[in-house]
Structure formats: C-alpha cells, structure tokens
Amino acid sequence: MTPGFPLLSTLLATPFLIAVALFFVPGRARTAIHWLSMAGATVMLLLSIAVFLAFAPATGGFQLDEQYAWLPQLGITLHLATDGIAAPLVLLTGVVIFCGTLVSLKVTHRPKDYFILLFTLVGGVYGTFLSLDLFFLFFFYEIAVLPMYLLIGVWGSSTDFGTFLRTKEYGAMKLTLVLVAGSIPVWVAIIATFLQAGAGSMDLPVLAQATYSREFQLVFYPMFMIGFGILAGLFPFHTWSPDGHVAAPTAVSMLHAGVLMKLGAFGIIRVGMLLMPEGAAAWAPVLLVLATVNVVYGALSALGQTDLKYVIGYSSVSHMGYVLMGFASMSIVGVNGAVLQMVSHGIMTALFFTLVGVVYDQAHTRLIASFGGLAQQSKLVAVMFAIAGFASLGLPGLSGFVAEFLIFVGLFERYPLFGALGIAGAAITAVYILRLMATAFFGPANPKWATLHGPNRSETLAAVILCASIFAVGLFPSLLMPAISVGVASLMSTVLGAG
C-alpha cells in the first residue's frame, strides 16, 4: 500500500479515456484520429514499461496496490495490484498494442469506430491482468470479448476455400459465441465461490483465505479451468481460434492471439489455481491430456492448412497448449515456463500476424500454394518471418526456447511421456514452419507477385520492435524471469501447500 502516483489506475484509465476522446473527434478527421490513437498507444507502452519496472521482484507479493470502494453491498472494490505474473503480461500488452496501433494506421474504413473498439478491448485486457477483485477481473475479462464481434465483422476478411467461403461474419459470430459460452461456467463458479467463502467480499486475497471443501473444489475448479480455458484455446473448444483469428483484421489478430488468449490462461492460475488448489491438483491430469492434444493436434492441423493465416491460427492453438501443459505440470519450473511462454508466444504470434497482414493487404490472398519466392520482393518480411518461425519452433537464443525448455523440464519430473509428446509437437512445428517458408518465401518466384513490396514504415517499426523483443527475451531471459519466478513461487506455495 505505497502512497504515491496511482500508476495502475492511470494505465487502466488510459485506453478508456482515449476511446472516449476519440468519440468526440469527427470521423472525417483521419489525421487527428491517427495522432490521438498513436499518442494513446505510446502512453500505454510507456506506462506498461513503468509498471513492469516499478514491480520489485525482491519484495515480491502484490505491489502498487490501489483500492476504491465501488459496491459495498456485494463487497466489490476496484482493487488493482500487480505481481510477478501480471507485470510481464502488462508489459507484453503494452508492446503488442503499440505495434498493433502502428499496423492499424492503414485502416481507412471508419477508423474512428475501429480505434474506439480496439482501445476498449485493450482496456479490458489491462483490467483483467491488474484486478485483484474477482468481480472486476470478470468485468474486464468480458469487456475484452465485447468489441470482438464488430471488430471482426466490420474490418475483418473472409477466406475463400474454393469450394466454400468462410465469411468474416461467421468467424466473428463463432468467436464471440464460443467465448461467451466460456463465460457461463466462470460466471456460475464466481457466484458459487463468493457465496461459499461467505466473507461478503469479492476481493481475491480475502477469497483465497477462505476454505473450500474438497468436493466444492472438485465441482467448481473445472468450471474455471474450462471456462477460462476456452479463451486460452483449450482442446476441444479451440476451433473458434483459427476461424476467428483468420477473419480478424491484422491488429485484432495480433491482440487477440497475442494477448487475449493469455487472459484465459491467466484466469486459470489467478482465479482457479489460487482459490482452489486441491481442485487444480485433482484435475491437473485432465488438463495435461487436453493440453497435450492441443500441442500435437494443433501442430498437425497447422501442417494441413493451405491458408497462410490458418497456419498461424493453428500454431497459436498448439503453442497455447504448451502454456496449459506447464500449468498442468503443477511444478514451479513448469509454471515458470508457462508464464514465460505466454509472453513469448504473445510477441511471436503478433509478429506472425503483422507479416501475414503485410502480404495479404497487397496480395488479397493467403493461399500458400499461390506464393513463391516472396523473399525476392521483400527480404525484410522473409527474414522476420524466419525469426518468428525459429522462435516458434524453439530455436535456442530466441524467446520460445527458454520457455519451452522450462516447461519440458517441469513435465519430465513427473510425466516423461507427456514431456516427450510436447517435444514431438515442437518437431512438427519445425516441419510446418520450415515447409511454409520454403514454399512461400523461397523457392521459385511467382511472377504474379513481382509488384509486391515490403512493409510500410509503421509496419516495419512494429515488426522490428517485435523482433527485438523476441531476441531480448531469448538472450536475456533474466529481464523477465526474476519477476515471473517470484510471482510463480508465491502462487505455487499456496497451490503445493494445499495439495
């Protein structure tokens, strides 16, 4: 409870204030909209960095605490704080929204509405990461889902598979309804937890103090696990992810796959595992099996895709599987790896979607078979795609390696078979990434694409920032790991202590 500058509420308020401010800018004033959005994104990036730096790993616990009374009748306070798990994710959000805004400067169709919705979504993301009140965590979690339908439906793109058309409306509706379906068990479990705790408070630390019977945990933990898991792309509820992410406009795919899917994973640990450690331990094997299917099946599905963006979509499913595998290992090392993987995948997938966006916006197709030798048109795109790809398949020196390595170590302690399957997933990833690069970026050039050119300046800047982040995390994991390990250690002491 340090008095001082209310850093977290300022960060949380920024996207919403920008959205409100944009509301008063006339729709035709494109330049003003761009400037205001860019300024907002810059402020968010700087504040995110500030929050990350202000978190002192040596002190641990929850920091930068802020509380505001809201609805005492239900024991709801707007309680904001950050810990070693949330701080890196806040940083990730700052980076991705900054790059996402850069990439979005291309949007010419109703840019005002677009940025209002985009910033509302980001506000929801920050709120979820920073809330220590169960009501508000869910409140912001739902806000993050809220604008998706319109963002995809209005600014997205349909995919023509030749024999059939996957319209953007379909992708938008599917994503929204599946995610909202995931909210159902979460909503019920939150109410049950609040009443069971009987403390008349929605505060997570207070709720964590209460005791829940083993039976209660066995019933309600899976509701959190599956409900939040749906947003994390948990098998068999993952199919919204490729369809939705492919249909979405570039920046929305970046944010959604890069950050929003992490909200689901974050919910599982912040709410599910923290409040119901016994339930988490009991259900861990189930989560492990599902997550392994995520990894292997997601990778195999990516292998079978003909559309560039669908490959990335399925690769997200596969990579989020590693995060969930890390949770399911129930070991400190594994969960550390999972949190790092959340950051790593967030950056990497944002980079992938940026590059796919560069190609698609010019070519208006994403069929891998129709491309060839794109590297000749833009070396930059090819190189950066290769970096994202190598990070994705876990090449040492890049972000993915450290994260996946930790997850595998965590798994091999108790579940060597699943560890092996995880590694097999990484091998399949190597196949589809390398094959994709060989076909689309190298190999014989298709003269049809001779007119394609590289990314514009803002896209280049976004891609460079993301690339640099991949290297930074890969070469200097010590930038993030002290914070993460402190956060995970305090969480796991609760979880393992109870188990």
Binding site: D113, A192, F194
Partner: protein, 480 residues
C-alpha cells in the same frame, strides 16, 4: 381525510385534466406539439414535487401506503413517462391524430402505475391495474389507419380482460379464505389459516399468478406481447415494455411479500417454473424474429424471467436485486426504443433488413442501439452486467437448487447475445439501402444521449441506485 399524503398522485390527476382541457381550448387546426411539452414539464414538476415530498403514512383503512417503496416508484415511474413523452413528440406529430388525448392518457397511465406500487389492499390494487389497462387499450390502438395497431388493441383488450377475470376470481377465492382484502390482514389470516383450505388457497394463488403473469408477460401468459409490441405505436410499446412492466413488478413484489408470504411454499414452485419458462422460451423465439419490435418483445419476456426468478425466492435482498435489475432494464429498454423510434420516424423501417447500414446513416442511433443491446445481453460497462450479477447472487444465496437455476439464467443470458448481435450485424456490417445521413432532430438526439449516459451510469457506478433501492425495500413489511 388528509389528502396531503397523496399530493403527487393528485397532481397527476390535475395534470391529466390540464392537458385534456388545453386540447379542448385549442383551435381545430392549431399545432398540438405544445401539449407534449406541457405534459413533459408537468411530469418533471410532479417528479420534482414527489422527490421533495417526505410525508409517510397510509390512507384510512390502509388501502394505500406511502412508504419509501412507494416513494421510489413515484420517482421511477414519472421519470419513465417523461422519457416516453419525449420519445413520442416527433412520432405523434408525424403519424398520430388527437395528440391531446394521447398525452392525457399517458399521464393517467402514469397515475395508475404509481397507484399500483402503493396499493396495500387488493381492490385498490385491482382498480389501479385496470385503470392502467384501459389507458393502454386505447393507446395501443391509437394509430387508427394502421391495421396492426387495431389488431394490437383488440388483442390486448380481449386477452387482458381474460387475465383480469382470472385475477378477480383469484381475489374472490382469497377473500373467501381470509375474509379480508388488506395485505397485512391477509398475511395474518394465512399464517393462522386452516390447513384444510390449502386446496382453495392453491387455486386462488394460481389464478392470481395467471392474472398478474399476463401483465408481466411471463410464459405461458405472454401470447399478446409480440403482437401488441409490434402493432402499437412504438412510444406506446416503450410505455408497455418499461412503465407498465415496472409497475406490475412493483405490485407483485408488494402483494406477494406483504400479503401472500405465508403461502410462499405454494406459489414459489409455480413462480420458479414461470421464470425458467419465460427466460428460455423468450430467448429461443427471439432468435427467429426479423422485426426489431417483436425481437424486443421476446427479449422482454426473457428479461421478465430473470426477474421472476428473484421473486420466486422473495426476500428483502432479492427484492432489492430485482428492482435494481428492473431499473437497469428500464433505462436500457428506453434507450433501445428511443433508437428504434428515431430511426423509424425517418425511415419508416422497423425490420432487421431495414436496419442495415444504420451505423452509416445515423451513427448516434447505431451506437445507442449497441449500448442498449449489449446491456440487455448483460455485458459489462453497461447496466445489464452488474444488475444481473447482483440479481444472480441474490438468488443463488438460497441454496444449491437456486444456483442451478441461476446457471440456466446465465446460459440464457449468453444465448440472448446471439440475437442482439444480429441487430448489430445489420446496423454495423450491413450496407444501407439508401445513402445519406439521417437528421433525427434535437429532442430525440438529446433523449438518446441522456438514456445512453444513464445506461453507462448504472453500469459503471451502481452504488447510489443500489442504496436508494435498498432503503425502499427495507420499508416493505414482508412476512413469511
């Protein structure tokens, strides 16, 4: 008899006659738009007067009680009517004749609705309800050249008369068993009632529930709702959907809590059944609607389901929760109807296809629609999320069975998002049939903005509302 206790109610009577009298005095061809303003300002004056009024007490014989609960509705209901009048002005000028009677009837309906909330005796409550019904029969069929409006009026009269008959029959049973019509005395009599009378009591309660279920638009007594909502002039639909429903819930909460509490074990299962049926049926049928007014009708049926769920486990805390949700529902639905009315005034369209491209032609209305529909679906930032959360927690407090029913309600709430998104799909993704911005006029613009702000206000800081409503339900004399 000291009438100062009911001054606000008397002022409403005066206002109604002022409006009707002015109409009479005005020349044949004169512009009657001014009557709308007289009504609106008159209602604001009554509202201000009611809020200032601090007298509490009861009329002789306890037929009408003025407590904080009545006070709450003396504020809420005129507020609703003010918005309805603001929404009516352009519509009445463009499409309806006989503006004087129209506004006069709205004021009388307002009076009846306030009386419904304060009645603490069966006959008074019944007369208040019938007064409202008579106003609404006329208002529903006000668009004389429109066949659908006529149909709405006829349907409303026939079915509502049937419902009233059932209600009266139930009241007579109840009187037979308890020998009184006063709420407090009924509750005492029921506590001491002979168990052998349980059969007759069940019949009485079911008849009363059926009669009032009609007003609440609860399944299976909902059949009139879609046709009347669709056929009635849209501002009247707003009055029926918001004002009349609020008043009916006010009456039901007082009646079932203060009078019928001791028989709760008899009506509770029936009410829970109505709740689940209403929310599920309303939602499933709403999905297939192509007319926005019909869609809102079915949506209001399902919303009644959530409220009935709280009433099934009636207590001070669930009554508070229900009223908070009702208040949120009121501003949200008014916002939705405001957008529909403003759009309809300019384009004459009220079906989903006609809504295509609304965001291009009238961005404010599309935004208002988005806010209202997301709120109805129970999404955060807007009123619907926190009021539903409050409601569900209050209901789930009563045990595992009720948590299960809340689960059904949550599923329904999420299903409803599908058809609300269909409207937004038309509004935001569809391409407009004609180009060009619509000019919706200053009154409607301001009204839409005010309502949208209210939806946000409830959603972002519900504490003041929850406190006021908590104090109001504290004043109820529940006996179980």
């Amino acid at each position: 008899m000291d009438l100062s206790l009911v001054q606000p109610e008397l002022l409403l009577v005066v206002l109604a006659f002022v409006v009707l009298g002015l109409d009479l005095l005005m020349g044949r061809g004169s512009d009657r738009a001014v009557l709308g303003w007289v009504t609106a300002f008159g209602l604001v004056w009554v509202l201000w007067f009611s809020v200032e009024q601090t007298l509490l007490g009861a009329l002789p014989g306890g037929v009408y009680r003025v407590d904080l609960y009545t006070h709450l509705f003396r504020a809420l209901i005129p507020l609703t009517s003010i918005f309805v009048v603001l929404l009516s002005m352009q519509y009445v000028t463009k499409r309806l004749k006989h503006a004087g009677e129209y506004y006069g009837l709205i004021v009388l309906a307002t009076l009846a609705m306030v009386l419904m909330a304060g009645s603490s005796e069966l006959i008074t409550a019944y007369i208040a309800l019938e007064t409202l019904n008579f106003c609404l029969y006329v208002l529903a069929s006000y668009d004389k050249p429109d066949l659908r409006s006529n149909e709405a009026g006829v349907k409303y009269i026939v079915l509502s008369a049937l419902a009233s008959a059932l209600l009266l029959y139930g009241i007579s049973f109840l009187y037979g068993i308890t020998g009184t019509t006063s709420y407090a005395a009924i509750s005492s009599a029921l506590t001491a009632a002979d168990p052998a009378l349980a059969g007759g009591l069940t019949a009485a309660l079911l008849l009363i529930l059926a009669g009032l279920g009609f007003k609440l638009a609860a399944v299976p007594f909902h059949a009139w709702t879609p046709d009347v909502y669709e056929g009635a002039p849209t501002p009247v639909t707003a009055l029926i959907a918001v004002g009349s429903k609020t008043a009916a819930f006010a009456l039901v909460i007082r009646l079932f809590g203060e009078a019928l509490g001791p028989a709760a074990y008899l009506w509770q299962p029936a009410m829970a059944l109505l709740a689940v049926a209403s929310m599920t049926y309303g939602n499933l049928v709403a999905m297939q609607q192509t007319n926005v007014k019909r869609l809102l009708a079915y949506s209001s049926i399902s919303q009644a389901g959530y409220l009935l769920l709280a009433l099934a486990v009636l207590s001070e805390s669930t009554a508070t929760a229900a009223l908070i949700h009702l208040a949120g529902y009121a501003v949200t639905n008014l916002a939705a109807f405001a957008c529909v009315i403003a759009y309809q005034n300019q384009t004459g369209k009220e079906d989903l296809e006609g809504f295509a491209g609304m965001a291009e032609r009238a961005p404010l209305l599309a935004f208002g629609m988005a806010v209202a529909l997301f709120s109805l679906a129970g999404m955060p930032l807007f009123a619907g999320f926190v009021t539903k959360f409050y409601l569900f927690i209050a209901v789930a407090q009563n045990g595992a069975l009720w948590l299960g029913l809340v689960g059904i309600a949550v599923v329904n709430s999420m299903i409803s998002l599908y058809y609300y998104l269909k409207v937004l799909k038309a509004a935001y993704i569809g391409t407009p049939a004609e180009a060009g911005r619509l000019s919706i006029g200053p009154v409607l613009s301001v009204t839409v903005v005010a309502l949208v702000l209210l939806v946000f206000a409830v959603g972002l800081y519900p504490y003041p509302l929850a406190t006021i409503i908590g104090a109001a339900t504290d004043a109820l004399r529940f006996r179980f």
